[in-house]
């Protein structure tokens, strides 16, 4: 005796209406069942050999953004050959490119394909392109046109030549390709027999309703039993960004260790970013290739004269500190220049100039900027972790211990301290952490005790222990990434699939 549930019966009934054969989509539409319900029924019916389940793969193809641009403007090689013909069939590469108004990045692509397609000859020496006539529309261009017209194409429907071209276009990265599986159900002889006997659909209740509950009708209703292992539709929770999650972890560690959070402007004067930290005005780090300066607004205001004068003297001759200073003429104009801060220490020193009563423990995890191209290991803006301890008798070893305590809470326990140099700290060190996966020591952060030339102009009388380092490096270790850009390209797929508990 075959026992069938409501959905199974409805599926069979739909198949009957479809003359014994239909795709899951068609059955869903005919029966009014949800897609997932048909799939579940299909599996069950095929287990009972009442239907046969066939799977067929198909590939749908659409143009991507670059593909659409080419469809509009023509392939780069087409644009180049057109301009070459316009120029009489012989021209310097540069001239043909300019005439075609081709973006620089497209030039190698255009030249490569001109050669591959034998549309033109290139003499390398003189950099001259030659072609006799404009070539006819190629199959690839036809396919692009077709894709633009039909929006979506199923590759399996195409002839062999077009399929080959499709592969070429895919490799040129002009297409979105999606693989799908089409599932078709076919009645078996047993299935047909069962239908012939006549299916009487017993009404099953799938959704318990308020009405059933209130009226007590649920007692009589046949409540359908679910296949609890069946897959349901995926839902994605609203969620914190994985990088923000790590920032929050670091903040919590600081707060647990008794540090108070500080926060300052992203745009800073060179005075607070460099001069107040005893960085000489001709220091290479202050140059345009390292620091972003502003063209609007250009200049900011300096703090009160006594502070500015003291900083100027510290640079020029060491002021009252006993230092030799940097021995040059300090310029207030240079100090007024506005820039995107290169470290959060600009805010630290400003904070310490106003809060001088020890003990002080402050931190920040905040944005800083460096004039860098975006690569797998650098971004122009990133987060810096900075921690500061000020007290009457704190020492260099205390700095090491504080920092170790902080990073060990991130699971980074094997830390070494190598000598290092920073203009505003002495003694200085860099904390290196051993990364077993990479089998080498990686720089974690820089650290040191603020120099007397930094402290004296701000009226700070006690040792200032400071450390600072990038957050992204830790984030990449934690999130197992090897490209920093992934932290910032906001791919939903990555954010949705990255667990919050690492």
């Amino acid at each position: 005796m075959v026992e069938l549930r409501e959905h199974d019966q409805k599926t069979l009934e739909a198949l009957r209406k479809l003359d014994g054969k239909g795709t899951v989509e068609e059955i869903a539409e005919t029966s009014g069942l949800a897609h997932a319900a048909v799939m579940r029924a299909a599996l069950k019916l095929s287990n009972k050999k009442l239907v046969q389940l066939q799977e067929q793969k198909r590939t749908t193809v659409t143009l991507n953004e670059e593909g659409r641009t080419y469809e509009e403007k023509g392939l780069p090689e087409r644009r180049l050959i057109k301009s070459l013909i316009r120029l009489g069939g012989t021209a310097k590469i540069e001239k043909a490119v300019n005439n075609a108004k081709l973006q620089k990045s497209l030039v190698p692509i255009a030249l490569g394909w001109l050669r591959k397609k034998n549309w033109a000859t290139l003499s390398r020496k003189e950099k001259i392109l030659r072609a006799s006539e404009e070539p006819k529309e190629g199959t690839d261009e036809k396919v692009i046109r077709l894709l633009a017209k039909k929006d979506t194409i199923i590759t399996q429907d195409l002839d062999k030549e077009k399929r080959r071209i499709m592969e070429v276009l895919r490799k040129r990265k002009l297409l979105h390709v999606k693989d799908e599986t089409i599932r078709t159900l076919k009645l078996t002889a047993d299935g047909q027999k069962l239908i012939d006997k006549g299916i009487k659909i017993a009404k099953e209740v799938s959704q318990l309703t308020p009405e059933l509950i209130i009226t007590g009708k649920w007692r009589k209703a046949k409540l359908r039993q679910f296949d609890v292992s069946a897959a349901g539709p995926q839902v994605y929770p609203g969620k914190i960004h994985p990088l923000q999650q790590i920032i929050e972890r670091a903040r919590r560690i600081f707060l647990e260790m008794g540090f108070t959070e500080i926060r300052g402007p992203l745009v800073e004067t060179a005075f607070w970013n460099f001069d107040a930290l005893f960085q000489p005005q001709d220091h290479p780090a202050r140059e345009m290739q390292d620091t972003f300066y502003l063209s609007n607004p250009k200049e900011g205001k300096l703090p009160r004269k006594t502070v500015v004068d003291a900083v100027a003297r510290a640079h020029e001759d060491g002021w009252t500190t006993g230092s030799k200073g940097w021995r040059y003429k300090w310029s207030p104009d240079e100090a007024r220049r506005l820039l995107l801060r290169t470290h959060t220490t600009s805010e630290t020193i400003k904070h310490l100039s106003k809060h001088r009563k020890p003990p002080i423990k402050v931190f920040s995890i905040d944005k800083v900027y460096r004039n860098e191209q975006l690569t797998y290991k650098n971004t122009a803006e990133f987060y810096q972790i900075e921690g500061i301890v000020v007290d009457k008798a704190v020492t260099f070893r205390d700095l090491m211990g504080t920092l170790k305590a902080f990073y060990s809470r991130f699971g980074l326990k094997k830390v070494q301290f190598w000598p290092c140099y920073f203009p505003y700290t002495e003694p200085s060190a860099q904390a290196m952490v051993y990364v077993p996966k990479l089998k080498h020591w990686m720089e974690l952060c820089g650290m040191g005790i603020f120099r007397p030339e930094v402290l004296a102009p701000m009226g700070i009388k006690y040792p200032v222990l400071a450390w600072g380092g990038g957050l992204e490096r830790i984030a990449m270790l934690e999130l197992k990434l090897d490209d920093i850009r992934l932290l910032y390209d906001n791919r939903l797929e990555w954010i949705r699939s990255t667990p919050l508990c690492q």
């Binding site: 995926q234 609203g238 914190i240 960004h241 990088l243 923000q244 707060l255 647990e256 260790m257 008794g258 540090f259 108070t260 500080i262 926060r263 992203l266 745009v267 004067t269 345009m288 290739q289 972003f292 502003l294 063209s295 609007n296 900011g300 205001k301 703090p303 006993g322 230092s323 030799k324 940097w326 423990k361 920040s364 004039n371 860098e372 975006l374 971004t379 803006e381 301890v389 007290d391 020492t395 260099f396 070893r397 090491m400 211990g401 504080t402 170790k404 301290f417 000598p419 140099y421 002495e426 003694p427 860099q430 290196m432 005790i449 120099r451 030339e453 222990l465 906001n490 939903l492 954010i495």
Partner: protein, 552 residues
């Protein structure tokens, strides 16, 4: 940062002991080097230009021997008299006022030594000379020319000579216009009516500082006796460069000889390798490092850092600083030398006993509450850069030009201005994720930067929240409800929503948000043209609120 490649065998020769690569790799970081690359038989290390004396094998070996305790204390360099005079003409005082020089004799340079010497010059040009501006070096074969020498200045077309590695004579003018070094460095002198020139007794040209040497005095492997010149605009940079160079060459086996340098108004002898003196207190050292070292132990540590040290009174050490060190400005710098000599690896971390209570910054407290509510409403967080560009911020958003915080030296067309609102970033996120499943509800809580002439920096950082919802049925009601739920949970009291017009939003479906008559935000349906600009297919709604007023 400058880099030096240390070959195991050659470095061993300089240290005077057979070293393995593993041993060098293990110890060298404790001197302050960063390991860049470990090769088969070499090590590539990076050093900071404050220790510019690390630019040669000799300099690194000196410090390495000290660290290991194989040779400690101040290195001694004997300087004898060369009897050679260098005359500095008044003509150079405006264009390149300073020159100092030295002679190093009886060298036996091999091919590697010559390479070492070249690299040393380059590092000094960059690290001390600030790309030849403050100081630049010329190294000459002394035997090819005849003293006395004169540093003078000549008219651009008055003299011709064969520049280094060329075959034809060129005038000074031609060198600046056509020679690769001339073109690279002409800005240092081309504003002057006369160009600097170093000549010998017979008016043969040794060099045209700071551009190029003459072919005449070219260094080869068989060169035995060197004449070194350093010219510049900063006497200290000139002197230190010369000291680093002479002492390295002396460590390579040369004998240093002094030159009489006659300036129009004074005469000095160069090189001057007399160590500078500075006092260091025992208590200051121990208090800074957190150690309890005796004065004699501290002296020992200083000596391992290749400094001279002697006790002058109780708890006070007089430290002699070698002439090649450019980085000792203050007593505190000597404390670090003690730490390096002691060994950073021996410093045991301790934990300070300072008791404090931690506290969040109010802005970040507000930011986190905003995040919590947005997540509760089903939105997923995005993190975009604060740097952006006009195309994204304005053109794609259908906005008119406005004044914004702008970079003077952008590194790419992508990042030219600071964002003044967060919405365009989220539109880009939607565009980048259009192949992911819908609905897509995204938010960001972050900073924008606006001009504000009242602040010290003429602009200000403000905390914003933005949220977008994009799916087939997104509409004004959905986002208004979300914004209201957000406001209610942030305890934004008497807020008002008024109809408004905004070019990024659909007319009649945009509203501004106000508290106490101050506009703090906007909400509505994104204009379809904006959706087209981003290649979005689904209706999209958004709100953005300035959170500054909510920070306490």
């Amino acid at each position: 940062m400058p880099v030096i490649t240390l070959h195991e065998e050659r470095f061993s020769k300089f240290v005077g002991r057979k070293l393995t690569l593993a041993e060098i790799t293990e110890w060298i970081p404790w001197l302050g080097f960063d390991i860049e690359e470990v090769g088969e038989d070499y090590l590539k290390v990076e050093f900071n230009p404050n220790r510019i004396d690390f630019c040669s094998y000799a300099g690194v070996a000196r410090a390495f021997k000290g660290l290991r305790g194989w040779e400690t204390g101040l290195p001694n360099y004997k300087v004898s008299d060369s009897g050679i005079t260098l005359k500095i003409s008044r003509a150079v005082s405006n264009v390149r006022p300073f020159m100092l020089a030295a002679v190093v004799r009886n060298l036996e340079l091999d091919e590697e030594d010559v390479v070492d010497l070249m690299e040393m010059q380059e590092d000094l040009h960059w690290g001390v000379g600030r790309d030849r501006k403050k100081a630049s070096i010329g190294v000459h074969n002394l035997d090819a020319v005849k003293p006395p020498f004169t540093f003078t200045a000549a008219k651009p077309n008055s003299i011709k000579f064969i520049p280094l590695d060329k075959t034809d004579e060129m005038s000074l003018q031609e060198i600046l216009e056509r020679h690769e070094k001339g073109m690279a460095y002409k800005h240092l002198i081309d504003w002057s009516p006369t160009y600097p020139l170093l000549i010998d007794r017979d008016k043969q040209v040794l060099s045209m500082p700071p551009i190029i040497n003459g072919e005449l005095t070219k260094i080869e492997e068989k060169t035995r006796n060197l004449f070194l010149d350093v010219t510049g605009t900063d006497i200290e940079a000139v002197e230190k460069s010369l000291n680093v160079l002479c002492t390295s060459l002396a460590d390579m086996g040369g004998e240093i000889e002094r030159i009489r340098v006659e300036y129009p108004d004074q005469t000095r002898f160069s090189p001057n390798l007399t160590p500078e003196k500075m006092n260091l207190k025992t208590t200051f050292t121990n208090n800074t490092l957190g150690l309890r070292l005796s004065t004699s132990r501290i002296i020992e540590c200083l000596e391992r850092s290749r400094l001279g040290a002697r006790r002058t009174e109780k708890g006070v050490i007089e430290v002699a600083i070698p002439a090649y060190r450019i980085d000792i400005l203050h007593e505190i710098d000597l404390v670090e030398e003690v730490a390096i000599g002691y060994g950073y690896y021996k410093l045991k971390p301790t934990f300070p006993s300072s008791v404090t209570i931690g506290e969040q910054h109010p802005a970040l407290k507000t930011a986190n509450l905003a995040r919590q509510i947005a997540i509760g409403l089903g939105f997923t967080e995005m993190m975009n850069f604060t740097l952006t560009n006009e195309r994204l911020q304005r053109e794609k958003m259908r906005r008119k030009e406005e004044e914004e915080v702008r970079l003077a030296n952008p590194v790419s067309a992508e990042y030219t201005i600071m964002r003044q609102d967060l919405l365009p970033g989220l539109m880009k996120n939607l565009a980048d994720n259009r192949h992911e499943s819908f609905p897509q509800r995204l938010f960001e809580v972050s900073d924008i930067v606006k001009l504000n002439a009242k602040t010290e920096t003429q602009c200000e950082r403000r905390l914003h929240i933005v949220a977008v919802s994009s799916h087939a049925k997104a509409n004004f009601t959905e986002i208004k409800s979300a914004a209201e739920a957000f406001a209610a949970n942030m305890a934004i009291g008497d807020w008002k929503i008024k109809a408004t017009e905004h070019t990024s939003f659909l007319k009649g479906r945009a509203a501004s948000i106000h508290i106490r008559n101050e506009e703090i935000g906007i909400l509505g349906e994104i204009h379809p043209e904006v959706l087209n600009n981003f290649g979005l297919e689904n209706p999209t709604v958004a709100f953005e609120i300035d959170l500054e007023a909510l920070i306490d």
